[in-house]
Subunit: 329 residues, 2 copies
């Protein structure tokens, strides 16, 4: 078995040193030293992934390396921040070289695509656990905050939310899918694509934004809470992938509205900026869809309610709950 230090050196540190050296001082000292771009500040996010909770024990380690960084890059995307670097802390039951080689390959392929440098970390023995903290750079006034939505704003979502949850249900045996749909749904679950380019393109265009990690309905409520608003959503406008559209309607809605792990962006923008939103999406190469409107609350004490409507404006009675790590979903 490799010792801790040779393990880090073989799979992580040497690779980190060959990168862009954006960090003034990277792996090998007590701290990494890093600075945001001139006139900008640092955006920081941390996520912990646990076996059996965030991924299956038999997950392809290459996919896990991708996903561990992707969920963190997605948080930067949701702030409109440019990725700079990340730290990686992990606990491993044993130092399995094949596993580490595949994990680090998946991790660095994504890191290289977004020019995001590994600047430090920690490894220990223990039940499998991955904790990444990611750093980005953003002008303070450009940050896409959750508390910046206005009443009357359009509500937009990127991509086709629900595919990751549909893939999870498929793997759990909750519902069968057609053979042709299995691969794209599994890919949505294992290789989520962080919408970094879209987040950057939406600076100065969108008002509030977040990434959908716990389900569109639950995550949208975070914007409603922080912006003191309510919302109306046109359920028929939800963009569904062909694979999800072939599942029963109740599964579609459960996946698209309450499914976690999508990492699409949900954001608001003034109706006057519709063309600008579409241009940003085109620049980023991502589909965006307008699904609703931010509304004022009936009273300041009112709950941050979402009114569900069909395409004809008829109210729908949906009961959905976001993903909560201390409850079953």
């Amino acid at each position: 078995m490799l010792s801790e230090f040779s393990l880090i050196d073989r799979y992580f540190a040497r690779r980190a040193r060959t990168n862009t050296q954006r960090a003034t001082l990277g792996i090998g000292d007590d701290c990494a030293l890093i600075a945001p771009a001139a006139g900008e500040i640092l955006a920081v996010s941390t996520d912990m992934l646990v076996e059996g909770r965030h991924f299956f024990p038999d997950i392809d380690p290459h996919a896990l390396g991708h996903k561990a960084l992707a969920v963190n890059l997605s948080d930067l995307a949701a702030m409109g921040a440019q990725p700079l670097g990340f730290t990686l802390a992990f606990a491993l039951p044993k130092a399995d070289e094949d596993w580490l080689a595949a994990f680090s390959a998946g991790l660095f392929e994504l890191a290289d695509r977004f020019d995001c440098e590994l600047i430090g970390g920690d490894t220990t023995a223990g039940p499998l656990n991955l904790c990444l903290t990611v750093f980005g750079s953003v002008r303070q006034d450009d940050a896409l905050r959750r508390d910046a939505a206005h009443a009357g704003d359009d509500i937009w979502v990127s991509g086709t939310p629900g595919d990751a949850r549909a893939g999870l249900g498929m793997m759990r045996g909750e519902w069968p899918v057609r053979e042709q749909d299995a691969a794209p749904l599994r890919r949505a679950l294992e290789y989520p694509e962080p919408r970094v380019a879209l987040g950057l393109a939406l600076r100065g265009v969108a008002r509030a934004a977040l990434d959908v990690s716990d389900g569109l309905a639950g995550d949208l409520r975070h914007i409603l809470e922080r912006s003191h608003l309510a919302a109306t959503i046109d359920v028929d406008a939800l963009p569904l992938s062909p694979a999800l559209a072939r599942l029963p309607r109740d599964v579609q809605l459960q996946c698209a509205l309450a499914g976690g792990d999508d990492y699409e962006l949900c954001f608001t923008a003034a109706p006057a900026r519709r063309d600008a939103v579409e241009a940003a999406a085109q620049q980023a190469g991502v589909r965006v869809t307008r699904i609703g409107t931010m509304t004022s609350r009936t009273s300041p004490q009112a709950a941050p309610e979402i009114a569900w409507r069909d395409a004809g404006g008829t109210p729908l009675n949906l009961t959905l709950q976001g993903f909560d790590h201390f409850h079953a979903d």
Copy 2:
């Protein structure tokens, strides 16, 4: 049982909001936004603590809250960085309110002492695991790096290293201790004191520095490797606590030189700066002791060797190994 979100709010987020608000945007958005002081850059360190590896399953959660942050603040101290804030990610088997109340109390007592603000985090269900990432501010030229030692530098250590390892051995039943020594040794293990004030006072005085987390001998080798030097250590000069001094000599040396978890600073400084080092220590209220000298290597290819000597200069033959998380220590 509390849900994830109310749990965070009750024990962490509300408390975070009452702090100094150094972060432009803290808990509750996709990212925290943070900036180093004007003209400075950010020092970043991450540490993961796992039950059974870094602490006993029955550890007092107040002590665990202290230690989880202390080991990270110690990394800032070793860079001479001023603490700014930290993120906290943890996996918990269950949301036990008594445990969380005590853990958060221990954590925030230390955070408040060092004006270090909780700016973000993540919680999930899973085997107990704590991952903190800490942020400090330092002028790039002031950072106490591991690669900055010169041949001829004095080698210094703060405090009385070895007490944490002696306390661990006591609790494991490796050696008996006198009744009067049990409390201070246990305290050294459970409530390590990060040497932040000393690290700040040593800026411009010390050359290289690190914190002793894996044992003085092993950690000093990191300075030797990065600075391309060797060292001579006067074993009789090692500062021992009264409790450690009452244990057998072989236990003293094992604990002081190969024991982990001390979080004292080991640093080098030019002999001309001895008065300045003492003044910095006095300012920080910490004892420092000169224990050796940095030396040139016999050849560039030579190993980063430490020559052990007694007070009379006679060579000693010590075989010590630092703590490695993939081997027994």
